[in-house]
């Protein structure tokens, strides 16, 4: 019988750094992950409010938004709740065993911690200058000589964008890992229901965030 990577870990073995980065939910779940995850979501919201970076959807990250600080905090919470609720229902449909809601909701919250790094990258002054410059140039007519952006800002902007993409991919992996561990689903069934859940949660979160932004 095949066994899941995380359930193969044996007693007394300390988790390695790759375990903590990519398979953390073999070691932390429940109320502990919920508390840590909520702190991470709020921290990312706070950093996002400083850099005007918001996570407007389960998988989205955009910068340059002018909104109340509460929206930056609320966006992360809406993203988390949207996916957690959808995956909980998916898990109930697809899993053959019982599982606890607190494990899924907690680990899904903690799976969002890479957004802190993404929000931090967007906070860097060269990236802020790049975004401000791009916004100014895009809002006006293209000059004859084309856009002029300092090479340093452009390079750093590209790097910050790359960091953000890596963080989002990492976050999706952690979300998937949380789903498979907490609901005890594997293989094609896990992949299929997770992707369906992710798409559904993306739509729900977009709708909810649209309402929240207008409120």
């Amino acid at each position: 019988m095949t066994t899941d990577i995380a359930t193969e870990r044996v007693a007394g073995q300390r988790p390695t750094l790759p375990d903590l980065l990519f398979r953390p939910f073999g070691y932390v779940a429940g109320a502990q992950s919920l508390a840590l995850g909520l702190v991470a979501i709020l921290a990312a919201g706070f950093l996002g409010s400083l850099s005007r970076t918001h996570f407007d959807g389960v998988l989205d990250m955009h910068t340059g938004l002018v909104a109340r600080r509460a929206f930056f905090f609320g966006a992360g919470l809406i993203d988390w709740l949207s996916l957690s609720v959808v995956l909980f229902l998916m898990g109930k449909l697809a899993s053959r065993t019982a599982f606890r809601a607190v494990d899924l909701f907690g680990t899904q919250a903690l799976a969002r911690w890479p957004t802190i790094i993404a929000a931090l990258a967007a906070l860097a002054p060269p990236f802020q200058r790049l975004v401000a410059g791009l916004a100014a140039q895009l809002s006006s007519a293209v000059p004859a000589g084309g856009f002029s952006i300092p090479a340093g800002d452009l390079a750093f902007g590209g790097l910050a964008g790359l960091v953000a993409v890596v963080c989002l991919v990492w976050m999706v992996w952690l979300m998937y890992h949380s789903y498979t561990i907490c609901c005890n689903i594997r293989g094609g069934r896990a992949v299929g229901t997770f992707i369906a859940g992710l798409l559904l949660a993306e739509i729900i979160s977009k709708l909810a965030l649209g309402i929240a932004l207008r409120a």
């Binding site: 019988m1 066994t3 899941d4 995380a6 359930t7 870990r9 044996v10 007693a11 007394g12 073995q13 300390r14 939910f25 073999g26 070691y27 932390v28 779940a29 429940g30 992950s33 065993t97 019982a98 599982f99 606890r100 494990d103 561990i181 907490c182 005890n184």
Partner: protein, 93 residues
């Protein structure tokens, strides 16, 4: 004492006990004896079950003991339950 092998190294079928010996007097009993469902499980599963019973069946306590998360222990238990069910189905009636 060495671990009891439960599967055939050649064809992976479940082994049966053919000979039992009293370590005190050396009396030997020969025949074909089946393994119980628990004895047929791999050693690490048997160890898990012993720890689980000693923890009064508390998955939380097991998670603390093993240094892993609650769902990890729950999944491990589910795997063992599946193996036990498979072993029961394999048992001749």
């Amino acid at each position: 004492m060495r671990n009891l092998p439960t599967t055939c190294p050649s064809c992976d079928s479940q082994l049966a006990v053919a000979r039992l010996v009293c370590p005190e007097c050396g009396t030997a009993v020969e025949g074909s004896f089946g393994l119980s469902v628990l004895a047929a499980l791999p050693t690490e599963d048997q160890r898990f079950i012993v720890d689980f019973v000693k923890s009064s069946g508390s998955l939380k306590e097991m998670a603390r003991l093993l240094g892993v998360s609650y769902p990890t222990v729950r999944n491990r238990l589910d795997e063992i339950i599946a193996r036990m069910r498979a072993a029961e189905e394999e048992e001749p009636t």
